[in-house]
Every structure is written in C-alpha cells, then in structure tokens.
Subunit: 310 residues, 2 copies
Amino acid sequence: MGNDLTYAVLGTGALGGYYGGMLARGGRRVCFQVRTGFEEVRKQGLVVESCDGDFTLPRAEIHADTSSMPKADVVLVCLKTTANHLLKEMLKPILKEGTLVILVQNGLLFEEELSSELPGVPIAGASAFICSFKVAPGHIKHCDFGHISFALLKNSEAASSLLEKVKEDFIACGVEASVEADLPTLRWRKLVWNIPYNGMTVVMDTSTDKLMQNPESRKLIKDLMLETQQGAAACGVMIENEFIEKMLTYTDSMVPYAPSMKLDYDAKRPMEIKGIYSNPLKAAINGGADLKKIRMLEQQLYFKQSEYLK
Amino acid sequence: MGNDLTYAVLGTGALGGYYGGMLARGGRRVCFQVRTGFEEVRKQGLVVESCDGDFTLPRAEIHADTSSMPKADVVLVCLKTTANHLLKEMLKPILKEGTLVILVQNGLLFEEELSSELPGVPIAGASAFICSFKVAPGHIKHCDFGHISFALLKNSEAASSLLEKVKEDFIACGVEASVEADLPTLRWRKLVWNIPYNGMTVVMDTSTDKLMQNPESRKLIKDLMLETQQGAAACGVMIENEFIEKMLTYTDSMVPYAPSMKLDYDAKRPMEIKGIYSNPLKAAINGGADLKKIRMLEQQLYFKQSEYLK
C-alpha cells in the first residue's frame, strides 16, 4: 500500500484539488489547504467531477492555513504564482528535514526564487498537461488529459529517491506521471503551449478552438511557439520542431478551452504574467534572444490587467 | 475668386464631408457622392459641426452615384479603401483629359494600384491630420486639427500645376494645406501614427488616451512606431526620431480618440487592414525588413475581423 508518504497540498483548485484528490482517493494521507470557502469545503468535502469517473472525499483533511497542518514529507504547491510572495511563510510550519517542495505551477524561475529564500530545502517543479478547473470551492471539474511530469531543481540522492516515490504514488493512484532529468527543459516545453494560448485567449477574448480555426491567428500561435523555441535555445534547452507540431495537433484535439489565464482575466484576478512572460523574456534576453512577438503579448497583457487591477 | 476648378467628392464621410464641405462653403463647385442615406442628405443638405465653427450647406450638390455627376477637374476620393475595388468603375463617368484623382485615404500602395488600372490618369495621394467623424449621413463632426498634405504619384508639369491650384483652393477656403515632394514619404509618415493607434485601439478595445497612460502599452506604441520607421527606411524613406517623439506628444495632446479603424470595428464594418498593415509589410519585406510586431498586429486584426465578417 505504497510509500506511506504524507502530502500537503497548498491551494485546492484545478490542480491541487484534482491531484491531491486522486492521491487521497488512492489511500494516501493528504492535507489540503483551502483559502476561499474553507468552512463550506470542510463540511461538504472534496468533489471531483472527472472525465475518468466522478468521486467525492467527504472526509478530506481540510485546513484554512498551514499553521494547523502536520509536517509533510511532500508539499504540492498548487497556488497561483501571483501568491508566491507568501510561499516562504506558508511553508514554514509544514517543513521538516528533507521535505520535498514541488511547485505544480506554470512559468519559469519560481523554483530558483524559492530556493534562494529557503536554502537547503529540496525543490522540484511539476508540469501538468491537464484540462481542469474549479467549479466552486472544493468542487473540481476535470475535462481532459492529466499527465504530470516532475523534475528536481538540484539533484541529490535523497531528493531523487523521494521524487521517485512520489511518482510511484501518483501512478498507483491512477495518474500518469514521469520524472524528467532537467527542470529548464520541463518548464520551457510547457511554455511552448502556455505562452501562445494563455495570452492570446485573453488579448483576443476568445477560446483555443477559435484561435486555431482562423488561419492568421493559427499562424501567430505557431510564430509564438517558434519564438518560445528560440528562447529555450538561448537557455540551452533544445525543443524539436516535431514537439511544436504535436502541441498544435494536441490543441486541435482539445475540447474548446479557456486556459487558466483567461479564467483569471474573466474573473478580474491577477494574471500570471511574470512566470509565463516576464521571466522567460528575461532568461531569453540573458541568453541573447530578443523575442519580439512574445514581448508584445506581455505588453498587451499588462495593459489588459491595468484596466481592472490598480 | 479662385481657380474655378470643379471638384467631385467620392464618399461624404469624415474626410469627404469636411474637406468637400469647406471647399463648397468657400464658393468652389463641389459635387458630393453619397452612398448611405442619399435621399435624406439631398433633402437636409450637408451639416458640418466644427471646432472652428459650425456650418450648413442646404444646397450642396448631392448625387447617389457618379453616373449623374458632371466631369470634374479634380476628384477627391474619400472612400474607405475597402471599397477601392469599385473605384475604377466609379471614376469613369467623371474623368476627362487631365482630371487629377486624389486619394484622400489611409494606407500604402493604393495610388500605384489605381494607376495600373487607369494608366495615364494623373494621381495624387493626400494625407489628412484630422480628428473628425460622421455622426449621421451628411452630418460631420470635426473635433481637432485639419491639415492636409498632397503628393503626386508621378510628377508632370500639368499635374503639378493643377495640384498647386488645389492647394491654393484649400487654403483660400480655410484649410491648412501643403504639397509634398514625395508620395512614399507622405504615406509612411502618416503610417507612423496609423499603424500603432488604429490596430491597438481595436485589439485592446480602448481609446488612444488609455494606451498612452499605461507604461507598457505606451512602450508598445513606440515600438510599433520604431518598426514603422524601419519599414520606411527599407523603402528608402527616412523618418527622423524627432518625428516619432512628435507623434507621441501630438497624441498626448489629443482629446481621447477612437481612430477610424476602431469605429469600423465597433460598427462591424470591414477594416482597412490591407492598406495600413498588409501593403506596408509587403513593401518592407521587399526592402528586407521583417517587422514582427506590426505583423503580429495584422494577424490579430484579421482574427478580430473574422469574428464578425465571414
């Protein structure tokens, strides 16, 4: 019955609710931190409506904040990166010697930033290829896909062995999971999808399928992917052309979809512009690549955000 | 009392209504072609609400199409360029030997296109720095500025002398006017304003003042101007950096303004993407300049237009 690891999930939304829910359903000990609607979720439990079968966890361990949570072997950080300035303080009560902190988040350089705040703590990144969203507090809808990939920021024997056990737990609980050798590769490959679709659905106020149907916007989506490939190369990460074609085909096959940034925009929440645009642009510039179309998208997104966030 | 030139105005909107109206008020013979609301305009005449003083022309010569119009010495083409495929046929009834056709339009290469359809006809371009719009058929509101600059596509003694007389007529009728030596220079200088503001007000769904207030969008506006400068250079047209600063300052001083493309977009009319984006991009590529942000704006505009035009 698995590795007996204890998990803490920070942020019980589209990702934390689904992956934490799958682990808990599979018998792992999981504590969930729920910010919005804590009382309600504690009463009703966690509900996951999934394309692979719905389930409810009436007795999920729900906490309003980390101060009441036990120390964990593994922390899955599933918060929006716009809350990452709070992360160090949130983590303190639940860290013990060797706790592995996994950022199940979008965007570049957050593992590096956290590591400089918490030196010595093993940190990994995770990239989720999944269509899911939060319907209401404690109520997650999972529409498609679900694979999760992990990679360590710094390799060590202890952290590698722990991450391997995490992967085994995910797989045993019904989630496709893998461990990748290189974190920048993991992050840049995800950006190939996130950079074009997140920003373009916001700026064009549309959904992925519409962008793919019009030949001009489809061309622009591909141009943005090719610039992402250039940025990755400037950071020493090679992304093959076939991967770009695969991402286009993958999106063609998706149900019409509003990426997380579009949901944030529609709800007038802060958008993850820093991790998905500003940090990659900074890294690319450092490597000598000037990504003009991605920079323009960043500029447009900051304008759009300024219309509702002061 | 002037040069006794007869004028035909094709399209009695923001530009044709204002400039034709000023000429007619000043005593020149002007025939107006009015497509939408012809009956109404013939009854009520032409109304110009101007920041320099309102006036009405109850007896303006209004025609539904050119077939009933007398031949003209000068034709002011003030149609949207999206109607330019009709231009050759519209012009036929009103052209005589030496008639000067002036395209008071936005965008690049239309004079060249018309010249290849009507070889031997003298053609000029005109660029209007004006804030005006059509309130209703035959009812124009002029808010700011008004200068018009002319330039010939091909220089000839007869055409130059005629264009000089046109300029004198405009000035005598209260419009600031000038003749410039080089048509590509005239067109590219106007594009320095048109390329950033027309597209960006549509794609961001906003007005010029909002774009100038946010630092990121202001930077993008300037980036687009700098790319326009690059495109001009690739076509042999030098635009000085001071001109770009002047356009930014000019826009800061403007009343909050929706450029013509934004009005077209809001009214779900075809947008002048070809003249303001596609033709300049084509000319720049021919000269070896790849204008990535302008190309991205063109792609976004075609997407936006495809949402309402099938």
